[in-house]
């Protein structure tokens, strides 16, 4: 089409000079090359890992099949994404003269594919790094952490030990909920007459939060036995040790949880108390029926956070000889000179902690939605 005055349209329209269509050819080629290099690195790393495994027979085949599958998947996915990126770039370049909109879309698609390669490459490099790390020194590293024979030898002790951790944790958690609330209510006890009670609560919380848990455990468990402290002196053997250990954790975590409760109680607007009192409820009734129920709902996420801590700290009880999971792990570990049982014990904790953490996240999200009025 000729413009008025017979001047020919320039080869590149003005709009193209101002807003050029990006074909992303350079980025795409870089992505393809980088993807192939990463695939090669991953393959080498996995091969070395396989080499360091030192297993034989059926397990060897299973490992080889699994690793080859990972390597192939990484290579194929990276290569396909890279090739697609280049293909879209080329298509964009080809489309520019005919269909500018399609060319733009194709260029954008090329960019997307190139970034897929980048993201997946980082993931593949993490896998490669782990494989390199574990296979270092002819697999000595892997052998320290993932010696299947050592983990297998430890398995019966793991169940026995971890069951004890779970028992301590569950019983302590229930008692902590009660004890923490008592402390929190004492800490916000109103009026001049309540001053000694408040002081005692603050002193208790400061002391037990400040003391390293391991010292409290040591002092309570051994000291109460040596001093024949009632009611523990009525108990015998394993039961006695169990209740002493649980008590020491309750004393420590009660202080933490009391502060969580207090934050919750203080977050309830004073008008709630004022309204309740003007309706004729006593202070106790106000706390019982109005303030505490609202506060508890708000503090469930931070409470669960403390419970994750409590659950992990059951491992500290190994200092007083309780045959919990860490103590048993170290026993096997010392016999076999291998750290793998410790890793297995850690994994046992994680298996419980992760669902609890996700549950906490879910609760927080639900609360945020409720506050937003959604």
């Amino acid at each position: 089409m000729a413009l008025a005055g017979g001047i020919a349209e320039p080869a590149v329209p003005a709009i193209q000079r101002l807003h050029p269509i990006k074909t992303r050819l350079g980025l795409s080629i870089a992505a393809l090359v980088a993807g192939l290099v990463v695939s090669a690195l991953t393959a080498i790393a996995l091969y070395r890992f396989d080499d360091s495994l030192g297993v034989v027979g059926g397990a060897r085949t299973a490992w080889a099949v699994g690793l080859v599958a990972i390597g192939t998947t990484v290579t194929v996915v990276l290569a396909v994404c890279g090739v697609l990126a280049v293909a879209r770039s080329v298509r964009a370049a080809r489309l520019i003269p005919d269909d500018r909109v399609a060319a733009r879309a194709s260029g954008a698609a090329a960019k997307d594919w190139a970034w897929y390669v980048a993201g997946l490459s980082v993931t593949a490099l993490v896998i490669a790094f782990l494989a390199f790390f574990l296979s270092a020194n002819n697999g000595a590293v892997r052998n320290q952490y993932l010696d299947w024979d050592a983990i297998d030898a430890y398995r019966p002790s793991l169940w026995k030990g971890f069951w004890l951790n779970i028992k301590v944790f569950v019983v302590a958690e229930i008692l902590v909920l009660v004890w923490g609330l008592v402390l929190a209510l004492a800490r916000i006890f109103p009026g001049k007459a309540g001053r000694p009670v408040r002081f005692l609560a603050v002193a208790y919380i400061d002391l037990f939060r400040g003391f390293p848990a391991i010292i409290t455990i040591y002092l309570i468990v051994l000291g109460f036995q040596a001093g024949d402290v009632p009611p523990f002196n009525q108990l015998q053997g394993d039961t006695k040790l169990f209740w002493l250990c649980t008590t020491s954790l309750v004393l420590v975590y009660g202080a933490y949880v009391a502060e969580v409760y207090r934050a919750g109680l203080e977050s309830i607007h004073w008008s709630q108390t004022a309204a309740a009192r003007s309706l004729g409820l006593s202070y106790g009734q106000t706390m019982r029926h109005v303030v505490t129920p609202q506060a508890v709902r708000r503090i469930i996420p931070p409470l669960l956070n403390d419970f994750i801590g409590l659950q992990k700290d059951t491992a500290l009880l190994s200092v007083v000889g309780l045959l919990e999971v860490l103590n048993r792990a170290r026993l096997t570990s010392n016999r076999l000179f291998n750290l793998s049982p410790n890793l297995a014990a850690g994994v046992a904790f994680v298996v419980i902690t992760i669902p609890l953490a996700r549950f906490t996240d879910w609760l927080v999200a639900r609360q945020a939605r409720a506050r937003a009025g959604g």
């Binding site: 870089a30 290099v37 790393a45 002819n138 468990v221 051994l222 007083v320 170290r330």
Partner: protein, 279 residues
């Protein structure tokens, strides 16, 4: 724009080269660790002119004192002094580590560990031992007044052991008491639990529990022992080139009567006076 494209390519290239280099590093680390550097014959300390000795406190009788920097005497301390003297080193440094790390070969940067370690084949796979310098069996430490006259008596007790010791293995594999033994990571916690009444008896090398009983001023006593024929050896880092130099001195100390003199001086109690039980 051309420059930016070039930048992307360059970055990708640099990444690739960088990671390839990492791979090479891994390979190199592998070969250096598998073939440790060999020093010349004689003695090469990890710190110049200093004998670095590792032990695990408390070890009454063997290392008296609660602070590795202020040891006042002891059987193994005397051996360490003799080693320092005969090797012609100016200083000695004592490091305190946990026993189970030590026997698992997880402690580095020391010349010799003297920590009442029984020589076993399993341990030999992860650490090197010197020649033996002491013989010991497994003693039964109880609160004063507890009677352990027979093996059945012993089986009925609540036992305590230290993690990673031959005593722990002996209780679990040979004695097999009615209740599973409680396990402590260090001796002080175990002895405290015995004192608190959480345990009825603690199984540990006779010489060590004899020294503990003496320190307790009559609160605890050693009432029996089990013959195991164990020998203590010093631990050297795996592949150490100092074994010959140290062994020669230990042999000298044995033949010139120094070891017996040290035992007389620091390990007052006579292990052979303790009644022997045989399961």
């Amino acid at each position: 724009m051309a420059l930016r494209k070039f930048g992307v390519v360059l970055l990708a290239g640099a990444l690739a080269v960088g990671f390839a280099a990492c791979g090479d590093d891994g390979e190199e680390t592998g070969s250096t660790t598998t073939a440790p550097a060999t020093g010349e014959a004689g003695f090469t300390p990890v710190t110049a002119d200093t004998l670095t000795v590792v032990t695990s406190l408390p070890a009454p009788g063997f290392w008296n004192g609660d602070d590795p920097a202020a040891i006042t005497g002891g059987y193994e301390y005397e051996i360490a002094l003799a080693l320092q003297d005969r090797l012609g080193l100016a200083n000695m440094k004592v490091l305190n580590v946990s026993f189970d790390q030590l026997v698992a070969g997880q402690v580095g940067d020391f010349d010799v560990a003297l920590s009442q370690v029984t020589i076993t084949d399993e341990r030999k796979q992860v650490v090197d031992f010197t020649v033996p310098y002491f013989e010991s069996d497994q003693g039964v430490l109880v609160k004063a007044g507890t009677k352990v006259a027979t093996v059945d008596d012993a089986k009925a007790l609540q036992w305590g052991v230290q993690s990673g010791t031959t005593g722990a293995d002996y209780v679990a594999d040979v004695l097999k008491p009615d209740h599973e033994a409680q396990v402590f990571q260090d001796l002080s916690a175990g002895f405290a639990a015995l004192e608190a009444g959480q345990l009825d008896a603690f199984m540990m090398d006779t010489a060590i529990v004899l020294a503990q009983a003496r320190e307790s001023n009559g609160a605890q006593e050693v009432v029996a022992q089990f013959k195991t024929g164990e020998q203590y050896g010093g631990i050297l880092p795996k592949g150490s080139t100092n074994a010959d130099a140290i062994n020669a001195i230990l042999d000298e100390l044995k033949s010139d009567g120094s070891l017996s003199a040290f035992a007389e001086k620091w390990l007052g109690g006579d292990p052979s006076a303790v009644p022997v039980l045989t399961p």
